[in-house]
Assembly symmetry: C2
Homo-oligomer: 438 residues x 2
């Protein structure tokens, strides 16, 4: 394996039998470097990357250097991370992502893994709070998540709760965690316990990692929570004070790198987890309590499109994708608008049985298409206003609805039914965050 | 004119010579209502809407009612709202939108207007702070704004500054105000004074209207500001305390209805306007000062597309729109990702001379495509990371860049040049707003 190496250098390394993770020596002029061959991501094909014993990585021009193999990498850990099959109080389902990535210090490679053994090794305190059963379902980066996988996750959740788990933790990459949370939420009409999606923004090899606190908190929540809803749990602040469980259909990743990137939009989160005290503090009383059985229906039709409107958008673009879609979610401007040119297109789409729903690219607040003429014309063209639903949540709900209705009227009815709290009718001043400029 | 009326009722009203704004009487059973005929937006074709003298609107079933015309609506105001031609210190260019909408109490119709006379009539205090010249350039709702109009606005701005205005105010609908702000910003490489886009979230007939405070503040800012940049000025808080001028390329409408909907993303705003004291308080020192001349180049190529990535997106959708686009801005997940399936499509696009740039749907933070494998593969496929630029700003910049470069390398170079502060390299903890959940 020579990840990242190309051209002459890759051939040269191969010819010497050198692979990533092997211990090598490089001599060049008066310089001599010894260390482990690391993957290279340089644009320069001639750069060789070595992790030295002092922990630093160094990149050197290979041309003119004398390379020698000192020793092959250590044999890989062959333990197969599998479910232990124990009837744990808390089931952890791993799908991949930063939270379950283990950096192999020997090679620098990032390996997704989360067997029960490895969790207990990584976070031994967890066994003091719950009996854990962990299982690797997928090992994918969340940007590669797909509707088919949502169904597999939902099935595993049902199986786990049916077997008696008090709650299920889903370790997930943060990129698309809120989409998956919505998908699982729409898949269950009743659950015996909560589903807690948990991720991390910084991998466990970094001092600022949020992995262990988030995972620890998610286990507390899965076991102790009075609610049986789908939640996303992440850091509550950039410091390690507490974690927050957001309602899965009302949360969004709002920052590329902060540990408190996930925030509830247009709604109050479900709970805070005071992880230093092992307690859950509910932030709202109107949650769905634990049910008697697990009723699941997890089908999705991915023939949808999320159209983000902007000035100058060409209506022909919509015509071009018409035959590939059964439904569209618009992220319109302001209260739910597009330019009036689109009225004709939407009228044609809805007439031909394609659902067209409106959300706002403002994210906060709710659409109201009765205020201005443009909105009223879009309403007349059959565009369905989707209240304060997030564009992403609406899209996932549309995939679910298309798989559960025969015609556009049926889809519309499902889209407008408040299934799992995706609509919040009670907005107040406190739901909008505060910016401070001084 | 019988806006909103259809079918039998429309024909019946027409046969009686009744139009919107006319005074009518409706008798039905024991009920008798007198008032002004209002536009109807009911789905029920039989509903007639009347504004009564007490100010309330009432909707009545027309079938079986006895309708009579009492008097025709008052003749329309025939003053032509035009530029006064005076060499005002502050030029106000009106493009339409809520801020310049005047509700005619007689008819309920919303009429965009902002002649100098009307402004002074509406906001007489303005003449105490500046000599105003106002002009109506367009009267459109901002959701109908187009790249062609941006050029016309830029030309009018140049003309006004060249004639000696200390600053220009552009009254604009809030829906697409930040897109226009970016467009004007990219159109000027030097300006002698500021351009202040101003809008309002609530029309002037509502007690909670922000129209007058925002307009008043924009005039103070246009006259007094030490900077010559394009700014968006709106309420700073939901209360009337102060207004804020955001850098036009770093601002976004973040709420559908709040008066403080506009917020700076990834940057500190330019200034606060303490309108009760007629003063401008700068929030940063690194602004662009007033220049010696006005250098404008305002061309846009609208053959772009803003693609908002989501799990399950079909790569064929991109193929379908390929022939309609010269460039794409992606709103990817997290640090700048899409599923790996898209790698091939993007490689093909960039090879065929279509620019593909990456922003993040998180909005806050910056893309970094070197952290995970997916990002690195997209980089190799030719996708260009666009730092902390907002997706909308990047899209407008792409339209400008496509009109100013011959090939994809030229476009890339322009896209990566920090022209007017669209990239901010100095992020800090304070730029992320705070959510409070208790």
């Amino acid at each position: 394996m020579l990840e990242g190496y190309r051209g002459k250098l890759a051939s040269f390394l191969a010819s010497k039998g050198i692979e990533i993770g092997d211990r090598i020596r490089i001599k060049k002029d008066s310089l001599e470097v010894e260390g482990i061959l690391f993957p290279s991501f340089s644009r320069d094909e001639d750069i060789i990357v070595v992790k030295m014993d002092n922990g630093y990585n160094v990149g050197l021009k290979a041309t003119g250097a004398d390379l020698s193999l000192l020793s092959k990498r250590k044999a890989e850990d062959t333990r197969k991370p599998q479910s232990t099959g124990s009837k744990g109080e808390v089931k952890i389902i791993s799908t991949g992502g930063t939270i379950v990535s283990k950096v192999e210090y020997e090679t620098g490679a990032v390996r997704p893994a989360l067997s029960t053994d490895e969790i207990l090794e990584y976070l031994p305190q967890i066994k003091d709070i719950a009996d854990i059963d962990a299982e690797i379902l997928f090992t994918i980066l969340s940007e590669n998540m797909k509707p088919d996988y949502w169904t597999k996750i939902a099935e595993k959740v049902k199986e786990s709760l049916d077997k008696g788990a008090r709650g299920v933790v889903i370790a997930h990459g943060t990129d698309t965690m809120s989409y998956t949370a919505s998908a699982i939420a729409f898949s269950f009409s009743e659950m015996t316990g909560p589903v807690v999606l948990v991720g991390s923004q910084r991998s466990s090899d970094r001092p600022s990692s949020d992995s262990s606190i988030n995972l620890y908190s998610s286990v507390i929540l899965a076991k102790e929570s009075p609610f049986a809803e789908v939640a996303v749990l992440m850091h509550g602040e950039s410091s390690d004070t507490y974690t927050i469980a957001h309602r899965g259909v009302k949360v969004r990743k709002m920052h590329t790198s902060r540990r408190d990137a996930f925030q509830s939009i247009n709604d109050v989160p479900l709970a805070k987890v005071m992880w230093t005290e092992n307690t859950v503090k509910m932030l709202r009383k109107d949650f769905v309590p634990r049910g008697k059985e697990n009723r699941m229906d997890s089908k999705f039709d991915p023939r949808v499109f999320l159209l983000y409107y902007y000035p100058g958008m060409n209506p022909l673009i919509l015509e071009a994708i018409k035959d590939k879609t059964r439904g569209i979610v618009l992220a319109g401007t302001g209260l739910g608008h597009t330019s009036e040119e689109f009225e004709t297109v939407f009228r044609e789409f809805t007439k031909d049985g394609i659902f067209v729903g409106m959300t706002s690219q403002c994210l906060f607040g709710r659409v109201n298409m009765n205020v201005y003429t443009t909105g009223r014309k879009l309403l007349e063209a059959g565009v369905v206003p989707l209240g304060d639903m997030l564009p992403e949540t609406a899209l996932v709900k549309l995939m679910w609805s298309l798989a559960h209705a025969d015609d556009v009227e049926g889809v519309k009815k499902l889209m407008l039914t408040n299934m799992v709290g995706e609509f919040n009718d009670r907005h107040n001043e406190q739901l909008f965050p505060r910016w401070y400029y001084e």
